[in-house]
């Protein structure tokens, strides 16, 4: 079936509507347009009727204005000024990015790389959000304080409506926006996390400390992945569709995420590996014994760093001869802890 201007108009309206009502409104709008065309004796698919269809669509108005009229609430930015608003956002976003990159190169050239990737990304996001927020406020104020403002818009030409997208290229706007918000929030969380986590001392915290230390070392990668996703989702929203760039970027970002996840899992498994020549027991952790190679450096294996409380519900492992020997710990003035480090019996 030939793609018509009416189909393109309905698509353009639909992409600005919330997912919940989109299909319903699109169907009704399409029927209404076809009825109106029929009433005027126009065939939307006929070449010689295109002028009449264009006139009809102009009467319906710009897709953004039509979509806005379905809005349940009041939009902060009036549809009339939306094209200008988006243009200003795009220009300022590009400028900020450029200035940041140039500034970063100058700083690195002068003083070297004496800051973290997280700091750079956090600062960039902060500046972008502040700028976009300020622009939004200015537009909203202009819209409200100058209600009679006549903005000269170039005459809308329905012939310029974007072509119908293949099903695979269509965006789910709700999902895209939700992912964008989630990733921005994640960047915020990751960048605000303390880079040096201080935990209470003692061997019972050593395992947690070790895991956290390794995870925080990976924070720049988490931030970079989330920031990459923010860029991808923003690009999708601006382009209004899936493109080759966003597809490949998503594939690469997903591969990197899987790789990072695999690396993290590997690190955790490595931490929990039994160390050659020593065993750690913890009644606080599931199972009768807990081993950690990463704690080798944290505690001397021969010392009674801590004592496990004897538990009738736990199997007393033969590898832990001093299981429950709290008296020995007390004698050595060790405080009671949850992890026992001992050298297994030969």
């Amino acid at each position: 079936m030939k793609e018509t201007l009416i189909d393109r108009y309905v698509q353009a309206v639909g992409r600005r509507l919330p997912g919940k009502t989109r299909a319903d409104v699109q169907l009704e709008l399409r029927t209404a347009l076809l009825d109106a065309a029929e009433q005027r004796g126009l065939n939307p698919a006929a070449e010689h009727d295109q002028a009449g269809i264009i006139t009809l669509l102009k009467e319906y108005g710009r897709p953004e204005a039509m979509a806005a009229s379905y809005g349940v609430g009041h939009s902060l930015i009036h549809p009339q000024v939306m094209p200008a608003y988006r243009r200003v956002l795009a220009i300022s976003g590009g400028l900020i990015t450029l200035i940041h990159l140039v500034g970063l190169m100058l700083v690195i050239g002068n003083t070297g790389f004496d800051f973290t990737v997280g700091d750079v990304i956090a600062n960039y996001i902060k500046v972008i959000l502040m700028s976009f927020g300020a622009i939004t406020i200015v537009f909203a104020v202009i819209d409200r304080t100058l209600p009679d403002l006549q903005i000269e818009e170039p005459e809308w030409d329905p012939a310029t409506l974007p072509a119908l997208l293949p099903q695979a290229d269509r965006l789910d706007y709700a999902d895209t926006v939700a992912e964008l918000i989630t990733q921005v929030a994640l960047v915020g969380v990751f960048t605000s996390l303390p880079w040096d986590i201080t935990l209470p001392g003692g061997p019972s915290w050593a395992l947690i400390h070790d895991v956290l230390t390794r995870l925080t070392a990976l924070l720049p990668w988490f931030i970079a992945l989330s920031a990459a996703d923010v860029i991808i989702q923003t690009a999708k929203l601006f382009q209004g569709r899936w493109t080759r760039f966003t597809r490949w970027a998503t594939v690469l970002q997903s591969l990197a995420a899987v790789g990072l996840l695999g690396y993290v899992t590997g690190q955790i498994i490595r931490i929990l590996q039994p160390a050659p020549g020593m065993t750690a027991c913890s009644p606080a952790l599931p199972g009768p014994c807990w081993w950690s190679s990463s704690l080798r450096s944290a505690l001397p294996p021969t010392s009674c760093a801590s004592c496990c409380s004897p538990s009738p519900h736990r199997r007393r492992p033969s590898a832990c001869p001093r299981w429950g020997n709290s008296r020995l710990c007390k004698a050595k003035k060790h405080s009671f802890q949850g992890v026992l480090f001992v050298r297994p019996k030969a």
């Binding site: 009704e28 029927t31 209404a32 009825d35 109106a36």
Partner: protein
């Protein structure tokens, strides 16, 4: 102070404001029988109340969301399913109340306008 060139635009705005409040009443009054959007538009236009599509369809949705209208899809032509709207019991009550209000406003305005002429 608007200039002579700006006056048509101002007048258009004022007429829009004047009509806006009456649109719900006009739509409710015509939906005793089920109608789909385009037929309703034609029906209203034939009686001198031409409502732009960009106003009528969202208004129908809004009135339905408010419980004043009910709707259902009917597929007579596969390529062109139509959504039919009709007034709900709550809408009938609102129509009665709004009609009374409208008549009161209309009478008052007529009186004011006639008095102005004298």
């Amino acid at each position: 102070m608007v200039t002579k060139e700006e006056y048509p635009s101002l007048l258009e705005t004022l007429i829009g404001e004047l009509r806006r409040g009456a649109l719900s009443l006009a739509v409710l009054s015509q939906l005793g029988q089920p109608e789909y959007g385009y037929s309703l538009k034609q029906q209203l236009a034939a009686q001198g109340m031409d409502i732009p599509e960009g106003t009528l369809y969202p208004l129908l949705r809004r009135l339905e969301a408010q419980g004043l209208l009910e709707s259902e899809w009917r597929v007579v032509d596969e390529a062109r399913p139509r959504r039919y709207y009709r007034i709900s019991p709550q809408g009938r009550q609102a129509l009665g109340d709004l009609t009374k209000e409208w008549q009161a406003i209309s009478a008052a305005l007529n009186s004011l306008l006639t008095g102005d002429k004298q």
